[in-house]
């Protein structure tokens, strides 16, 4: 079970958090102008990488804030945590 360093509350047990899937998939600003394929790409397609992955997490049983996490899914190592709206690190 991980320990997650919530950017608002500090280190807490994983059981307080909820995983929210892949990060940096922005909701299209004008969905009505997208083709079925383009909309499906946003709606359904997720990478699910074995290795370093960008993820969204929510401190559901704490401050309820969402934030981003860079995690290696092969060994659960959390490489970085940063707030919503902040840019993902380059490499």
């Amino acid at each position: 079970m991980f320990i997650i360093n919530c950017p608002f509350c500090g280190e807490r047990d994983q059981s307080e958090f909820k995983a929210g899937g892949e990060a940096h998939i922005e909701r299209p600003k004008q969905p009505t102008e997208l083709s079925d394929d383009e909309w499906a790409e946003y709606l359904f397609m997720r990478k699910n990488i074995k290795g370093v992955q960008f993820e969204r997490w929510n401190h559901a049983h704490g401050c309820r804030k969402w934030f981003n996490m860079v995690r290696d899914t092969s060994n659960d190592e959390i490489k970085l945590i940063y707030k919503m709206g902040e840019n993902p690190p380059i490499e």
């Binding site: 969402w66 060994n75 919503m84």
Partner: protein, 1001 residues
């Protein structure tokens, strides 16, 4: 009692305290400090169980948690009996009752033993292959397999013992209190680190503590003497906590570990009464030091499973630690020096050691020299080819090994004996290390897997790290600790260590016999009865992956997870296939390390604490009025209120009629309530609901449907505009938390520019909903000053008022189709509100109704219940609710998905009403609907989602989802049930008052 199997001079047995216990119904005596295994051996009881498949007699093999054979059922009380307990770990107490598992009718006469004679017909995969066909016979096979294959009995009554959970946070956790664990704990604690030392056995000190050989010295003292001194030292340390009888069950990521602390299992029933039995420790450690030691390997040879064949180290421990003689005429069989330690120790106690059989050509170790000097006969380059003795070994046969070790030569020698101590070398106990995600590497020199890559802040020290000699253990341990704990000076720096040095090694995973392999029984997994033959068969049949071989042969799949034989299984696969051990890899070790009882896992969370539940403020009233309850999410909701022994059907018919004919009252407090404030609140609602919200007047209510981004209905409810920038949203009872989570997600991550704040206020309000033609009169009695005229207080509007001094929010909204009001008060006035309503409604026979009647009433009106009539695949269009989807709004959650090629299909399942040909016939919810009975298998068009007998319409009604149902109005369809078919007609889903006259009645 027979004292003749005891040697004097054990420090760990209290010979002045005699303990009586029962095994298989017979009375025995042991001493305080004995395990069930040591006490049985002292009574010359070796036969303790039958093997799983062939029911062969099996005896005690080991002295620890790795025991594969001596698995017993402890206790005969239906509430607290426990299966799968290792006799080697049970400490005896007065009144202990234990029985052998997996034998019937008794361990001495076992009917399943016939399988042993049939064994040529029971090879690996036998069950899989034989019982595959015909499928309909499986039920019969299963009955017999279950009866012959059972491993122990589960308790049949609720557990009466008390269990506990505890969180522990420490700087350093040391697992295992052998010599390396003790040194590590001392160093850590002395360097101001809060340290926890866990040991699964009763005492700390590992095997060094009873080491009595002069050949192992530390600073000129016998190693045991030196260690006892250290133990006395660490007991004085303040920031070191030591827990014995505590076994680590699981090692998860981020140094999170679960351990079972056994508090009272070793006490007699009267001593343990009222005390906590076991405690589950949930440990977070900054650093973990694994010092779990190593397990001695057996040797794999023909008939290596007879009672009396034991690990060499166990024979030594029973003599040195428990003062118990396992045999009066011992032989050792080995491939390394450690059996010599055992032989010498026994010999010095006056126990006869006839011979040592060594597969090596020679060894120059000082231990070998000592054994030779003591006159013990050594057979070099020999192997045991067979053993004799059904319930206990009485003879072995040996032959000379060929140079390549693959066959035997010369003539057979027979020697009689009553105990054979075997040693196949040592396997580091890396189970916890691998559980934590650690990666192993293979060391060719002595054929062991040792820790290589650590996934968290941890190290392995001592023999679990592959250090086997006293000198290696101490020196390597100190070096690693210095780095790991970041310590400059270590007190043990200049210890002077003496130990015998092992020079010669020879390892043969499967020892040859004079018979062909097909005629031998070399057991690899004792508990699951898998032999080397089975592994070879699996390989012949094409299995290659070690994980597949494991499952096919069931090697390593018993409750001991194959702690003894897994390495041999790997070795045999490697040898047979010509793949290197290092490339083969190991199977996965999974938690728990040893079986855990469910009681320990759930701790205090039993009975009403097993799962949390939520009660409404009116709960007491419901209880006092004999309501039956149903679970809705975590809530306990009043389901119906039976009067005079009514059935649920009768109660619901009565409640439903009353609600439409006069007045009904429902506890609606469980509906989710979210307070929405902020200058962008209206815009926010526009984006999350399918309909438009900007023009909703203050004091007005509106029904909304919320979709997922995929266009499917997610939740629904009425939202009220309290003021310009203030709304209160209601959600379904079960969906409240998820809806709040989803809304927060959009606000924080997609629309952070919106000025909106969400607060869950579900628990802050209690809600009573009054409906029926007399509801207006009742509300008028409750709040006389409130103008209830349709002009002042129309349907779908809201008023603030007071009942007496209590402030309340009243919404004129309806989920039943009746004229109805929802009254919300601060939660702690809920019960009082309810009683006021009942009092005011008395003259109108106001009838409390539960969720079942609510469901019936809304079904009469064709209102959906999200989660009952929808299942995450229904769009608003599928539900015939096109009217609520705004065409004008540019966007809302799920809008784009409503015209994907899939969602615009006309043959999607759509919500319809169903009427049965026989109006008294009530359909079953979930029943399948078909249109063509002639073609089999039937093409299923959909299913019934809600079904009731309507007392107001005096006929059966149902809602259903049917493929292309919207265009099938009036069509006759069929519902095939067991033995008959029900005829139905598709109708409009609104059955009652389509004109909404009753809302304003």
């Amino acid at each position: 009692m027979s004292n003749n199997l005891r040697v004097k001079s054990s420090n760990y047995i209290d010979e002045t305290t005699i303990v009586s216990f029962k095994f298989n119904g017979k009375n025995y005596h042991g001493y305080k400090g004995d395990t069930l295994a040591s006490a049985l051996l002292a009574n010359n009881v070796h036969l303790v169980g039958r093997s799983f498949k062939y029911h062969r007699p099996r005896g005690i093999m080991t002295s620890g948690s790795e025991e594969p054979n001596a698995i017993v059922q402890v206790g005969n009380n239906a509430a607290i009996t426990e299966p799968n307990v290792r006799a080697t770990e049970v400490e005896i107490y007065d009144g202990l009752e234990a029985t052998s598992q997996n034998c019937w009718p008794s361990v001495n006469f076992d009917i399943g033993g016939i399988n042993n004679l049939l064994s040529p017909f029971l090879p690996a995969g036998f069950y899989y292959k034989t019982f595959m066909w015909p499928a309909s016979f499986w039920k019969k096979y299963e009955y017999f397999i279950r009866h012959s294959a059972g491993l122990g009995k589960s308790p049949t009554k609720p557990d009466t013992d008390i269990y506990d959970h505890k969180y522990i946070h420490c700087d350093v956790l040391v697992i295992g209190a052998g010599i390396s664990g003790i040194m590590a704990a001392k160093i850590a604690a002395k360097n101001n680190l809060k340290t926890l030392l866990l040991e699964e056995k009763t005492q700390i000190g590992g095997s060094t503590i009873y080491q009595n050989s002069e050949k192992f010295k530390i600073d000129n003292k016998n190693s045991s003497e030196w260690l006892i001194n250290e133990i006395n030292e660490i007991k004085k340390l303040d920031n070191l906590q030591i827990k014995t009888r505590t076994s680590v069950a699981a090692y998860h990521g981020y140094n999170y570990l679960l351990a079972r602390e056994n508090l009272t299992d070793h006490l007699s029933p009267s001593e343990k009464k009222g005390k906590i039995r076991q405690r589950l420790l949930k440990i977070r450690a900054k650093k973990v030091i694994v010092a779990t030691g190593s397990l001695e390997r057996p040797l794999i040879f023909n008939n290596n499973d007879r009672p009396g064949i034991m690990l060499s180290s166990a024979v030594k421990k029973y003599a040195d630690h428990y003062g118990v003689i396992c045999g009066k005429n011992n032989i050792f069989f080995t491939n390394n020096d450690s059996a010599y330690e055992s032989a010498i120790s026994l010999h010095k106690k006056g126990i006869k050691v006839q011979a040592i059989i060594d597969i090596r050509e020679n060894s120059k170790s000082s231990l070998v020299e000592e054994a030779t000097n003591l006159g013990i006969k050594i057979y070099w380059s020999h192997t045991v080819v067979d053993t004799v003795g059904y319930k206990k070994i009485n003879k072995i046969s040996l032959k000379k090994l060929s140079n390549d070790g693959q066959s035997t030569t010369g003539s057979k020698i027979n020697i009689s004996c009553d105990c054979l101590g075997v040693s196949g070398g040592w396997t580091p106990a890396v189970h916890l290390f691998t559980q934590s995600g650690g990666k192993l590497k293979f060391r060719d020199k002595d054929q062991v897997f040792i820790p290589n890559k650590y996934p968290s802040k941890q190290i392995s020290i001592g023999s679990c790290n592959g250090d086997f000699s006293l000198n290696d253990i101490i020196k390597n341990c100190l070096n690693s600790l210095k780095k790991f704990l970041e310590i400059e000076n270590i007190e043990y720096e200049n210890l002077d260590i003496i130990n015998p040095i092992e020079t010669e090694k020879r390892n043969i995973w499967l020892l040859p016999s004079d018979k062909v392999i097909g005629k031998t029984k070399p057991f690899v997994d004792y508990q699951n009865d898998a032999t080397a033959k089975d592994i070879k068969l699996a390989l012949r049949e094409g299995f290659r992956s070690i994980e597949h071989v494991k499952r096919y042969t069931t090697t390593g799949m018993g409750t001991d997870q194959g702690k003894l034989g897994n390495m041999h299984a790997l070795g045999i696969v490697a040898d047979t296939t010509g793949v290197k051990m290092s490339e083969l890899g190991t199977t996965t070790f999974r938690p728990p390390y040893t079986p855990l009882t469910f009681g320990t896992i759930v701790g205090r969370n039993v009975g009403e604490y097993f799962d949390i539940f939520r009660k409404t403020p009116m709960n007491n009233w419901h209880l006092n009025n004999k309501a039956e309850f149903e679970n809705v999410g975590q809530w306990k909701r009043a389901w119906y209120y039976p009067v005079n022994n009514e059935t649920i059907y009768e109660a619901v018919q009565r409640e439903s009629l009353a609600a439409r004919e006069s007045a009904g009252i429902l506890d609606a407090s469980t509906l989710g309530k979210i307070d929405i404030q902020g200058s962008d609140a209206s815009e926010f609602l526009n984006r999350v609901y399918t309909n438009a919200w900007s023009k909703l007047g203050i004091g007005k209510c509106r029904y909304g449907l919320m979709l997922n981004e995929d266009g499917m209905v997610y939740d629904d409810g009425v939202t009220t505009r309290l003021s310009e920038n203030h709304y209160i949203m209601t959600t379904t009872t079960g969906g409240a938390a998820n809806v709040l989570g989803k809304l927060e997600d959009y606000l924080q991550t997609e629309w952070p520019e919106l000025d909106v704040y969400l607060t869950s206020v579900t628990d802050h309000f209690a809600t009573a909903s009054i409906c029926g033609p007399n509801s207006k009169k009742i509300l008028n009695k409750l709040i006389p000053e409130l103008d209830l005229s349709d002009e002042n207080f129309p349907h779908m509007s809201f008023k603030e008022a007071r009942i007496g001094k209590i402030k309340c929010r009243v919404m004129r909204i309806s989920f039943t189709g009746e004229h109805s009001y929802e009254i919300n008060v601060q939660a702690n006035y809920g019960e009082s509100l309810w009683e006021h309503c009942m009092e005011a409604g008395k003259e109108f026979n106001i009838t409390p109704y539960g969720t079942e009647t609510m469901h019936l009433l809304r079904a009469e009106k064709g209102f959906i219940i999200v989660g009952q009539d929808t299942d995450g695949t229904m769009t608003p269009i599928d539900l015939q609710m096109d009217w609520i989807v705004s065409k004008k709004k540019y966007d809302f959650i799920g809008k784009r998905s409503l015209y994907r090629s899939d969602t615009i299909r006309e043959d999607r399942k759509q919500l319809v009403g169903l009427l049965t040909e026989n109006p008294k016939e009530i359909l079953e919810e979930g029943a399948q609907i078909v249109s063509d009975l002639s073609k089999k298998p039937f093409e299923m068009l959909g299913h019934v989602t809600s079904s009731y007998f309507s007392p107001n319409l005096k006929k059966s009604i149902a809602l259903a989802v049917v493929r292309g149902g919207k265009k099938m109005m009036g069509k006759k369809l069929f519902i095939p049930m067991e033995g008959r078919t029900i005829n139905v007609t598709i109708v409009d889903p609104i059955f009652l008052d389509k004109e909404n006259k009753r809302l304003n009645a």
